[in-house]
Symmetry: D2
Subunit: 306 residues, 4 copies
């Protein structure tokens, strides 16, 4: 069966690689523009303990918004369902940094994976943890078994210098009272959080607790409850890909999350976690080749939850 | 195992019944207002051929928007993926009959389950079938094994007389060129389609092909391909409950579709199909008790896809 | 002084005529597309009884939305300030047939000069007059001293056959309860009202009561009160040119109203009324040459209210 | 004639004073909440040199947004029509600090009197003047003949500490590239600009150049051209009162500008300038009593431009 998965993914990888890459590298964070656009890797971690990778799966990249799933996990672990008093769980239907819906919904972000929602999650963590940036890092180090993992100052600084729209979002939410701390402090943490770097192997391993009922694969440590894990998976399915979330559910059929660095992580509950990376993005801000690979894999297999 | 399902559902039923029903009956279609608000039934059809029901599961009700899944199925069966040239597959993020997004997206409905999308599906069927109302009815009669099933003139006429917003939607889309036939003809079919009546037992049986890879449970007849079936399930998960779709995925975690008549159908691929009915609706237009029952059932079981 | 006006307008006319006409004829009403695009005329009626015209000022054209000022006048004459219970007096800030704001404002049109507002005015007239189409025609015949003026069936039928967006608007407002009569009847009258034809001379004469405190120039007949006349002028200034209303106030500085037939009427209270016609429209739906002429005239004279 | 004006205004003042003041003091700038809500004053400066005041017309108040007309005037004086490459001249149709339209129009504010537009004006002045805050103050000191006029640090600091929405607006526009300087610097100047304090007498005198073809009443000094003056008046008429601009034009019929401090200035070109102050605001953010007084005055006189 492992060999079966492997050949399906190899076929998907080769097909996606053979396509002309129509995507464009994200340039709005200057530091991201320096990445080699031809990079392409994929790695699968199975719940049975086996794993394998193809291509540049050992090259580190900026996981960007993928980290929002981890900060949400820590927030739920910390204050439980009270998170949902300040953020909704609905797809946004519009661009990932839209202010439109924030205005209609009086400062309540539509979900924790659009920028506004992730900023409110940062605010929650700052309020409830001793030292949110340090504590969040420790949390991810434990999840990933990477004790030296650090924020990338270069990426964080690059985004801080140009992230005017996130400054706008944070202050706009503050004006509705749904940010409790100083916007500058919240944004600093937000930019740090998005600056984490991993390779595909580390990423698929880090997320495997969500395919495993909320427990770490390696030692069974309970990170969150099974029910919380299911709900985070549901959120990834409905909201993980900005305004291409429906398309991803439709074509791939797995819970997942993408980042503008070109990474995507997806998972099949009770089965496996897969991470793919290719820097060039389609018009909706998701990795062009990554989407093609995953679409190919689930179309030609039974690897979808539907 | 069958007994296990049964006791879980009985518990959910009893809990939902014990709650004060905070919902309100839909009154915008006058004929719907005549329903007994205390009705409450549930029925499960399992892929292994067993089935059971509780409460008023043999009382017929107006399935309303639930029929949109069936018309979409027939459209896909008829013209395949070309359906998606005229309708998108994204959650709308706004009220089910909003004109806002239609304006932004130049007459392309966000998905086939909001009214605008279902109206375009009707238009497609009129173009490609000899007699859309008759052929659609024949299609549902076959799916349901109910050879005498008919449109309810009383319901259809009641909605025709008051459905100004649907007239607005259809003409608005026509102004963008995405309705090809006479708006009055398209709307007549649309109101007919929404007027179908079934009971919970019939409804769960009718939808069981979607839990069975696109094939009828009774005789294995292929209605659509396995891949098409998976995609319709994905669409139900992301778009089946208007602007409560994210909430349903989050709390229930199953593909499903609701109607303003108070019916909900949901399914667990390769396992079972469940139909529930209670007429009073929550503020988002979904059955108050139906939602509670399904939430209870999947929270206290492994009956979710996540 | 009369000669002075004349030479200023002649200069404006010649300058506007010398410009390459970058406008485009309105084609969404098929019948309007048959007009000779080179037509260009202007006519001024002064309160002192003198008048003069240049170019094709004796050619009839479809006055279209300009008629909305006359139907508003009749509505105010009929039920007074109660009109404002059902329509607001604010600029819309968006396209003339937008449904966006109608949704936000629960079916209350932003002002009586956008399509939605004019449709509600038609509904008011149908409710309060014996025979709205006939009575409105009689009212305009008296204002214009044109006893044989009639609706153009050709124009009205052409618009009826293609006016899906107006059908959408009318039914959408009906769904909020702000249309009291049958939408089909309201729309018939609306399309008739917009089908009136006049030439520049007739148009400037017809509107001169608004430059004359609400009284007909010829015989002093009181059409509306001085205060009502001032308010209609204010509305023309703030809302007369769709989403170019601010631009017109800014550059021309006179109350006025345009139509997609290429006509514009404007007036300087207590002084004069001017009508100009040239069929090709700028991207905002207002006559390209007409706007240039009026801008030129008020920039090089003291002929603005500011 | 002077006595005539006076008695009309006295009547308006007395009537507005006799009404129950349904307004509410602005509290979002904490310092403004300390004002005595019973204050009510009015002052008229006529072009013929005469003037008079009633009530608390010698009490200073925070003129707030009224200052936006003065910063616009200085921007036009400095770079002329190039201002309009970065700001539009259309009414916004929505709340004064809405981000909705900014998003549709890619960072181009709808007009210079909503917050976003005034912030862009500040940015323009910073770019083109040696020291914008100092130079703007000098400009207003000359206009007002108040050589010791200063910014109110107390008001500016109070707004800086709570003005999250303006921070959001400024950074949002910056994200579209329509702010050229550091957002923090632009906002500092913006808050300073809005902190100016005058009494009704000073305010009506300061604005009288706009009723006088762009020239100071006292010495005929040319501030801007006659044509520029007319256009600023047109802008005040269409955009001076947030989303009550149409209502003000409709009921009062004069160019004017309001501030959340409860001040309003209005003018009749070639005739007079009037300033009124009463701190309690109606739901649209304009002085309740001030609006009533002006409405009364123009309804019972010929003092409207229409």
């Amino acid at each position: 069966m492992a060999s079966n998965y492997k050949s399906i993914i190899e076929n998907g990888y080769n097909l996606a690689k053979s396509l002309k890459d129509e995507g464009k590298i994200a340039t709005y964070i200057p530091e991201l523009a320096n990445v080699d656009p031809s990079m392409f890797g994929v790695h699968m971690t199975k719940n049975d303990g086996t794993d394998f990778g193809i291509g540049n799966y050992k090259e580190k990249f900026s996981i960007q918004s993928i980290a929002k799933v981890l900060s949400l996990t820590l927030a739920i672990k910390t204050i439980g369902e009270k998170v949902w008093n300040r953020i909704d769980v609905e797809p946004s239907g519009t661009k990932f940094d839209s202010l439109l819906l924030l205005e209609s919904y009086k400062g309540i972000p539509r979900n924790p994976f659009i920028n506004s929602g992730a900023i409110v999650i940062c605010d929650i963590l700052i309020t409830h943890l001793d030292n949110a940036p340090k504590d969040f890092l420790a949390f991810v180090r434990n999840l990933s078994d990477l004790p030296t993992l650090s924020y990338s100052d270069k990426i964080a600084d690059s985004e801080k210098a140009t992230g005017y729209r996130n400054v706008a979002l944070c202050n706009f939410i503050k004006s509705f009272g749904n940010i409790k701390n100083d916007p500058a402090v919240v944004l600093d943490f937000y930019f740090d959080m998005c600056s984490l770097e991993m390779n595909c192997q580390q990423l698929s391993y880090t997320f495997s607790f969500l395919a495993n009922g909320g427990r770490k694969l390696s030692n069974g440590e309970k990170i969150i409850t099974n029910s919380q894990s299911k709900r985070i998976n549901a959120l990834m399915l409905t909201c993980g890909f900005y305004d291409e979330s429906g398309e991803f559910a439709f074509k791939v059929g797995l819970p997942g999350k993408s980042g503008v660095g070109g990474g995507i992580v997806a998972l099949y509950p009770h089965n496996y976690t897969i991470a793919v990376w290719s820097p060039k993005l389609n018009p909706n801000g998701n990795s062009f080749r990554g989407m093609k690979l995953l679409e190919e894999v689930t179309t030609h297999s039974e690897l979808s939850i539907f």
